[in-house]
């Protein structure tokens, strides 16, 4: 598949939920099952990406500077730091550790 096609298809797919919500009756909100599914899916997919992004590389497990960087990010999240600060400090932590070792 070509990247442009994927971008367009992915965008249509994401838009489909947004648009569907304006067409469907609001009583669907009363379904606890559906709203739970939406919440759970968001958590599960983003966390799954955190796992792959932190611990794997080239099809194998890699334990490197990304792990301490993620721990620093967790600490900053506890301290309620702004998003952009967390992203920059985590990147800098990994970069500095790689320079040092």
């Amino acid at each position: 598949m070509n990247s442009w096609l994927a971008i367009v298809l992915g965008s249509i797919a994401v838009f489909s939920w947004k648009f569907l919500g304006y067409l469907l009756p609001a009583r669907l909100l009363e379904s606890r099952m559906l709203s739970k599914l939406a919440g759970f899916l968001t958590i599960a997919l983003l966390s799954g990406l955190v796992g792959v992004q932190t611990f794997s590389g080239n099809g194998q497990l890699e334990f490197d500077a990304r792990i301490p960087a993620l721990l620093v990010a967790a600490l900053l999240l506890r301290l309620k730091s702004p998003f952009i600060v967390i992203v920059i400090v985590a990147g800098a932590t990994a970069a500095l550790l790689r320079l040092a070792f």
Binding site: M1, G10, V14, K18, T42, S47, G48, L49, F83, I84
Partner: protein, 226 residues
């Protein structure tokens, strides 16, 4: 996100600025993942949903072109919550005709949150539109800036961009895992996708692990209620 007090216009614009600025990290990550600057801009304009965009780019970064179907699926499933926002917003905003398309595109975490935080009906409407539009403008400007910055870095490991990507995804999920079921789903999904990445092609470890974690979440809630 904390939504400060103040006039609906000032709250909307400050939320737009604060959120929009992290489009810089999206732009940089998208370019280092292998998309060009135009594709990166197209994602921010057309897909316009932070979680879905980060998911799309992260899956592409691990598997390249062969992972694109999995990238689409991940972005789509991460975006399901926007459908619920739209359901709650529809009676308040009540867009007609083409405005429905525009309202749908601007239906994201922040515009929904600002709208929900206002007491007066007209401010709920105004908060939605102003926040949606200001996030859209700042997010897209920041994306261009980030993509230009990312263009100077050939390898994602330079400046720890790979760690920054992990931290960005983690920060997006953090506010949602402050209760036990959410935290457990997150933990299972992190461990599951990491282990599955040893055996499955790129993109699929996340989808399979997430499916399992969601099923486990439902099972747990059911046994709690019994």
């Amino acid at each position: 996100m904390s939504i400060g007090k103040g006039s609906v216009a000032s709250v909307s614009v400050s939320v737009g600025l604060a959120t929009g600025i992290y489009g810089i990290s999206f732009g940089a990550l998208s370019v280092t993942a292998g998309f060009d600057i135009w594709q990166t801009m197209a994602l921010s304009i057309l897909m316009f949903s932070g979680g879905s965009q980060f998911a799309f780019v992260a899956v592409f970064a691990t598997g390249g072109v062969s992972a694109l179907p999995a990238a689409i699926t991940s972005a789509w499933l991460v975006g399901i919550r926007n459908g619920f926002y739209a359901l709650t917003l529809a009676p308040r905003i009540g867009p007609k005709g083409l405005m429905k398309v525009l309202a749908a595109q601007l239906t994201i975490d922040e515009s929904t949150a600002v709208s929900a935080s206002r007491e007066i009906e007209s401010e709920k409407r105004k908060g939605f539109w102003l926040t949606g539009l200001s996030v859209f403008v700042f997010w897209n400007l920041a994306t261009v800036f980030g993509a230009l910055l990312g263009g100077f870095l050939s390898d994602p490991k330079v400046f720890g961009l790979d760690a920054a990507a992990a931290a960005a995804l983690f920060a997006l999920v953090w506010p949602r895992i402050q209760q036990s079921t959410g935290a457990l789903i997150a933990a299972v999904s992190i461990i599951g996708s990491t282990l599955l990445s040893l055996v499955l092609p790129s993109g699929f470890p996340v989808l399979v692990a997430a499916g399992f974690a969601v099923a486990l979440g439902f099972w747990l809630e059911r046994s709690k209620n019994e």
